[in-house]
């Protein structure tokens, strides 16, 4: 069987959703005019948990004796290619980049629609994503995609095993973990506990340059332009205010009653 983007159909096809986000450590701002995140003026990186998702896909491929292919799927502006390259240099096989002006400002619901449309064009057994993105922090993508594709959702995985036609995870909970199992194909989200992402190797960086990267417009993926983008978004940021500047600290002078004063302060802040 041929997959849509060339190459022999290998035994397992894994798609990893990777998002480019503003550097977590940089100061992030919303734009005054359309109240969307100002992505142009900050350093960008791969969403941190997505690195764990890529690592897990590579591990599953290794566990399958290499009999699997790992495809990176990214929706984002042209600049997101840098992040895609990083995932390829870690060892992913190929990438699909959905990039179109019409998508700018899409909210989570629209994004899941667009990504599901691209997934329709791919062969996949497993879709892996990080449990949240550090910019929007919605943590809903796996659930939205499961709903749209009609595939089972396994969220919050701290361990994944694929056995024949089944995938089994340990789902991280507050007290321990649940074991969740589903038939493939399935949608999976991972938490940071799951692994330790590798550094790309220098050879991986060089090899990444010649790996297949397919760029799609909304039209290519059959995405209806009036269902995406800021103007059509079901949810809008109406108003925002910047974080108040830090106030000067309160100094507690110890006159034999320092402990009690500190306790009073903590109680007043509802910390104790």
């Amino acid at each position: 069987m041929q997959s849509a983007y060339g190459g022999r159909r290998t035994s397992m096809n894994i798609v990893v959703l990777v998002k480019q986000v503003p550097d977590t450590w940089a100061e992030r701002k919303l734009k005054a005019d359309d109240k969307t995140l100002d992505r142009a003026s900050v350093d960008v990186v791969m969403n941190e948990i997505d690195e764990y998702a890529v690592e897990e896909a590579l591990k599953l491929k290794e566990a399958a004796g290499g009999e699997a292919s790992v495809t990176i799927l990214t929706m984002g502006p042209d600049r997101a290619v840098e992040t895609i390259r990083k995932a390829l240099s870690m060892g992913a096989d190929k990438a699909v980049h959905l990039s179109d002006e019409a998508l700018a400002g899409s909210d989570a619901i629209q994004t899941s629609y667009a990504i599901a449309k691209v997934l329709d064009t791919l062969e996949y057994d497993l879709v892996i994503c990080g449990s949240e993105a550090t910019d929007s922090r919605m943590s809903v993508m796996a659930a939205l995609l499961a709903e749209r594709t009609g595939k089972p959702q396994l969220s919050g995985a701290r361990k994944v095993t694929v056995d024949g036609g089944n995938v089994k995870i340990e789902r991280q909970t507050d007290n321990g973990y649940d074991v969740v199992e589903a038939p493939l194909p399935a949608i999976l989200s991972v938490v940071e506990k799951i692994n330790e992402p590798r550094y790309p190797s220098f050879k991986g960086i060089m090899a990444a340059k010649s790996k297949p990267l397919t760029t799609l417009t909304t039209a290519d993926a059959g995405i209806e332009a009036d269902k995406v983008g800021l103007a059509n978004a079901p949810s809008q940021v109406v108003e925002f205010s910047n974080k108040p500047p830090r106030q000067a600290g309160q100094i507690v002078k110890d006159e034999g009653d320092g402990g009690a004063k500190v306790a009073d302060f903590l109680a007043s802040q509802k910390i104790i």
């Binding site: 240099s89 590798r198 550094y199 790309p200 190797s201 220098f202 050879k203 991986g204 960086i205 060089m206």
Partner: protein, 382 residues
């Protein structure tokens, strides 16, 4: 710290430097002070570098190297040394230790051992110095005698970087008469019976890099481990050092850059007489001089590296570079301590560590007096 502004020859080199910086910031810098204080050798860190492909950068891709010019490889060393000299210098010494085989080994020897040596899992050592022969290396006494097809080695190599940690050792040994022409180079595996690393030296700085004497008590090394010809060992050792000295230069610039970064950021925060000390012209002139020297040192090692990359003779330029870069590191790290005042002299700040690290670079791979001898001879003949 802001990245150093570099002009790199290719997009590939840009990506490589970015990888080196990521590794330096995330894997080296957070561990350096703590492991230095315990004199602990960072074997795992070298494995991480090896996996990333950083332990064979300067060698050809046919044996698993990175195929990078010295101009690029050295800047990677600089970034590593900026975070932690023990690791930057270790990478340089490992690279130096692969050179005798890569440049003088037979095809068969290279096919057999080089891929593992460049592959990132193994670490190398280079054993030239002895207790009684340092600058006068050609006076070495460790003796190898032929028994059947094997060499049997007796003596001791001193000051071996990675001694007791390395997987392979280049041994410069006497196989013939007195002087440079009686020396040969053997490639010994760490588990050779009779090759006995002694306890590491207790050093002033760069403590995480272990330096030890290797005692050789009838160590039997197979004849097919002779690199180059019998009697060619001194030439091999010296030509390896030409490249090694560029490595030390880059390490020195890394340490100097780290000291400069520390001094600048401190000067912008520290207030005296109601203003930032950076705003005293007397102090800012000091920072300006430090920065200028660092930039000049970087330009000098890169200029020598480009000669090497283009296949031109570069020995005297490598000596000038080693001399200038390491003297610069000594001056700049001393001045960085001065900028921090009392805080520069205590272990809670890294300035004093940089100063202790800079000092070793004026001594290893030919003292700076020896570099002047090399430069002087290139001008006037010997």
């Amino acid at each position: 710290m802001p990245p150093v502004v570099r002009s790199l020859p290719s997009a590939e080199a840009e990506a490589l430097l970015e990888l080196a910086r990521d590794l330096a910031e995330q894997e080296l810098a957070p561990r350096a002070a703590e492991m230095e204080s315990r004199s602990e050798f960072p074997r795992e860190v070298f494995r991480t570098l090896g996996k990333a492909g950083l332990l064979g950068l300067a060698y050809g891709e046919e044996h698993g190297g990175g195929g990078q010019p010295y101009e690029v490889y050295l800047q990677v060393l600089e970034e590593l040394s900026r975070a932690w000299l023990a690791v930057g210098l270790g990478t340089s010494v490992h690279t130096l230790s692969c050179y005798p085989l890569a440049a003088f080994g037979s095809q068969e020897q290279k096919d057999r051992w080089l891929p593992d040596m460049l592959g990132g899992e193994l670490l190398g050592a280079y054993c030239l110095s002895e207790a009684d022969s340092g600058s006068d290396a050609a006076a070495l006494k460790t003796k190898a005698t032929k028994e059947g097809d094997d060499w049997v080695v007796n003596g001791a190599k001193a000051w071996v970087t990675h001694g007791g940690q390395a997987d392979f050792y280049n041994l410069m040994v006497r196989t013939g008469g007195e002087g440079a022409k009686g020396i040969s180079c053997l490639l010994a595996a760490k588990d050779t019976p009779g090759l006995n690393p002694q306890a590491p030296e207790r050093k002033m700085g760069m403590k995480s890099s272990h330096t030890a004497t290797i005692q050789l008590d009838g160590a039997r090394i197979s004849g097919n481990r002779l690199l180059g010809d019998e009697g060619q060992g001194f030439r091999i050792a010296m030509s390896a050092l030409d490249g090694g000295r560029l490595g030390i230069s880059a390490c020195a610039v890394g340490v100097a850059q780290a000291a400069l970064d520390t001094a600048v950021s401190y000067a912008k925060q520290r207030k005296q007489f109601g203003q930032r000390i950076a705003d005293f012209q007397g102090l800012s002139f000091m920072l300006a001089d430090m920065a200028t020297q660092v930039e000049a040192a970087r330009a000098l090692y890169l200029s020598a590296a480009r000669l090497r990359d283009r296949g031109k003779p570069f020995g005297p330029q490598a000596a000038m570079s080693k001399l200038f870069c390491t003297d610069t590191a000594m001056r700049v790290t001393t001045d960085a301590v001065q900028v921090l005042g009392g805080y520069g002299y205590v272990e809670d700040f890294p300035a004093e560590r940089y100063l202790r690290e800079a000092k070793i670079l004026q001594i290893v791979e030919g003292t700076n007096q020896v570099q002047r001898i090399v430069v002087g001879r290139s001008l006037t003949g010997s």
